[in-house]
């Protein structure tokens, strides 16, 4: 689901810190440093990187299409190769039989089995194309807030890791505790109360 979809899901973040000056140049550097790379025809199973919102399959961050009004708008792309279990099994059985004939034994060691599995996965990963998943984000730099357009746990974890790696800035997910602690404007005394809160009872 993207920014322009009719229905969206949003995870809210607070950006902890600021980019060094010049901001736009450092933003571009961070994006280019971790731009999505193609893994088709390679043994890699998965890759995550930044891409352009309006050109997700041919990202080029030399322009300024990732700056829209007061917002930075770009996308996280996660490419993954999905190998059906039955195909892995078929090729593992074929390779195992081949190996058994070569060694002249009726069994394989654990190490040999592992080598066969790794070999099968590498061969299949070379042949299968990756499936791209694109998740948009809007970064309101002045407000230090970021909206990530998915609630998927895996995608959110990739975002947090890649954001830190790219911009050296931590993303703080805004859930009940962090939202109360960071953005609600509680006094120190109220924050102490927050820490000690326990569930209320409504049913007795």
């Amino acid at each position: 689901m993207g920014i322009l979809s009719s229905t969206v899901s949003i995870t809210l973040y607070k950006v902890d810190g600021e980019l060094e000056q010049p901001i736009l140049e450092n933003l571009r550097k961070g994006l280019k440093k971790n731009v999505i790379s193609e893994i088709d025809g390679q043994v890699s199973e998965k890759v995550a990187g930044w891409t352009l919102f309006d050109s997700p399959y041919k990202p080029d961050f030399t322009g300024s299409s990732h700056v829209v009004g007061n917002y930075f708008v770009f996308s996280l792309r996660i490419d993954k190769k999905v190998l059906p279990g039955k195909i892995i099994k078929k090729h593992t059985v074929i390779e195992t039989e081949k190996r058994l004939n070569q060694v002249g034994r009726g069994y394989l060691t654990a190490n040999e089995k592992k080598m066969i599995k790794d070999h099968v996965l590498n061969i299949l990963n070379l042949r299968i194309p990756s499936t791209p998943n694109i998740y948009d984000l809007i970064w309101n730099y002045e407000a230090s807030s970021l909206w990530f357009f998915t609630n998927l746990k895996g995608a959110n974890e990739e975002l947090e890791t890649l954001f830190l790696k790219s911009f050296n800035l931590r993303l703080i997910r805004l859930f009940p505790y962090t939202s109360a602690d960071i953005t609600a404007g509680l006094s120190d005394k109220e924050k102490d109360v927050l820490l000690k809160l326990s569930p209320s009872v409504f049913w007795s």
Binding site: I3, I138, N151, I172, S179, W203
Partner: protein, 174 residues
């Protein structure tokens, strides 16, 4: 600050209490809810409520959905000790209506449907489309943020146990 994973799990009950409180104020305290909304705006409970009961070690989940669904089952679940974990909201300001779901444990916004003043494809360029959508999302995010801030200020005050919990109990058992 506390470790993220620890604070997420330890305090997710606050999110559930927020949604339970929100249902209560929407249903019973319309004068109060008006204070939290922009002028001439209104909110109603939408077409889905999910409740969970963690009492007695066993998790019990109750989901009520459908535009015409009665909410009595939900009240009954509250009486047994359940709390609201997901709440669908209808938010209306002047001529626009938004519908979305707030998830208690994460405060994530899900299934947000927005209205656009005109067909997107007729907008001059993609920037204009993005800015219009961003403006719509901003309105909803600010609403949830504002409601949550008001709730949390109340939750850390003595009024919570002394007044609000009593009122919620009266609502549940009325």
């Amino acid at each position: 600050m506390l470790d993220v994973a620890v604070s997420y799990n330890r305090y997710k009950f606050i999110g559930y209490e927020f949604l339970t409180w929100l249902w209560f104020v929407v249903e019973s305290e319309q004068n109060l809810i008006k204070n939290y909304l922009p002028h001439s705006a209104s909110i109603q409970v939408g077409n889905r409520i999910k409740l969970e009961n963690h009492r007695n070690q066993n998790l019990e989940t109750i989901t009520i959905k459908g535009d015409e669904a009665g909410l009595e089952e939900g009240i009954l679940a509250l009486r047994k000790g359940a709390l609201v974990t997901e709440l669908n909201i209808l938010y209306e300001t002047q001529n626009l209506v938004w519908q979305f779901t707030i998830r208690g444990e994460s405060l994530n916004i899900g299934n947000l449907k927005t209205q656009i003043a005109g067909p997107l494809e007729k907008k001059e360029n993609i920037d204009e489309q993005i800015l219009e959508k961003a403006d719509q999302y901003d309105g909803v995010i600010k609403l949830v943020d504002h409601l949550y801030k008001n709730f949390i200020m109340l939750r850390v005050s003595t009024d919570w146990e002394e007044k609000t919990v009593v009122k919620i109990k009266n609502w549940i058992f009325s």
